[in-house]
Symmetry: C2
Subunit: 197 residues, 2 copies
């Protein structure tokens, strides 16, 4: 991590610009994120935006990264407490993911990444990061469920993610519905049935 430079002025304007970029992204999609719009929204000179991100793609990637904070902070107690019942842990993670997908900002970010990943390497990397984050957050619960004989022995976190994240994404981005706990629970139970031993 090159964390050496820390001119207060730099970080201040940078934070303002990133925040403005993410807001613009949430409001109007990736196309709304331009040097000019970010400068105006952040109350910053246009040249300053160009100084920090010479090319448009870099600026947009910064907006996307900022709008995609790490998924789960730390579910230590949860994992320990509900060791006997894997379903509760799975539902916990999926509810968290569902709430995240429901969020306008995170939804806009994910949609933009999904779309942009078709044409750009940076976006593909970002997509990979997001996916890894999601799958890894599910992994301990899945392996625990497998260990307890609640899921088939050959179920991977990737496969389980496919049958849970997939339906959630479908509901959120294809159907356009909000993801309530009932929906998430139904998805989780369907996946548990699908992969039951």
């Amino acid at each position: 991590m090159p964390e050496e430079r820390a001119d207060p002025r730099q970080v201040r304007s940078r934070e303002a610009m990133v925040a403005a970029a993410t807001t613009l992204l949430t409001e109007g999609g990736l196309e709304a994120v331009t040097h000019q719009a970010v400068a105006a929204r952040a109350g910053v000179g246009r040249a300053t935006v160009y100084r920090h991100w010479a090319d448009l793609l870099g600026l947009r990637l910064a907006a996307l990264e900022a709008g995609m904070p790490p998924l789960s902070p730390a579910p230590e107690d949860m994992r320990a407490a509900s060791g006997a019942e894997p379903r509760a842990e799975l539902v916990h993670y999926l509810r968290q993911l569902g709430e995240r997908l429901d969020d306008a900002q995170a939804g806009a970010v994910l949609a933009a990444v999904l779309c942009g990943a078709q044409y750009d390497d940076g976006m593909r990397r970002l997509r990979q990061t997001a996916l890894t984050q999601i799958v890894d957050s599910l992994r301990p619960a899945v392996t625990a469920a497998v260990a307890r004989g609640r899921l088939r022995a050959d179920v991977t976190a990737e496969a389980f993610a496919m049958t849970t994240v997939g339906p959630l994404v479908h509901q959120r981005f294809l159907v356009g519905a909000r993801l309530g706990h009932d929906t998430v629970d139904a998805v989780a139970d369907a996946a548990l049935r699908a992969w039951a031993p």
Copy 2:
């Protein structure tokens, strides 16, 4: 359907423009579709493009619609022949859908629609159309499977689509994988298990 006017010159240039727009969309995403780019690609005057679509959104919607032809032509014999085994029919539709999602053009279109539906009504309508098409193509097979006792009585085509289309979309757009028959079959079987009586 206002199908009255049919000046050969109009339809000729219109077709050229729509084709060019769809190609541009496939190659570079929705952002690549502009009046100027379409005019250049279609070998048409810039003014002509403006004449047909005064606003950019209309042009892009035309490109999206053209890139999203009806899903299934007519599966008459299939439905009659495999009446005894609902799984085959479901797999048939899902394979078709999988192949469609794998296609670069259709993938670009769907991604653009998913992304744009967050901000625009026209895109939302297009998304609704696509979704209805998909769900309706699955519906007969689902109801047949329910009738034959292979699926729970309360399974709707919408719910079944969620647990099949969702995972396919997940694999295609989040994982970035191609959708082979093996993947589609695995998804179909998982859904059948999830909704087994």
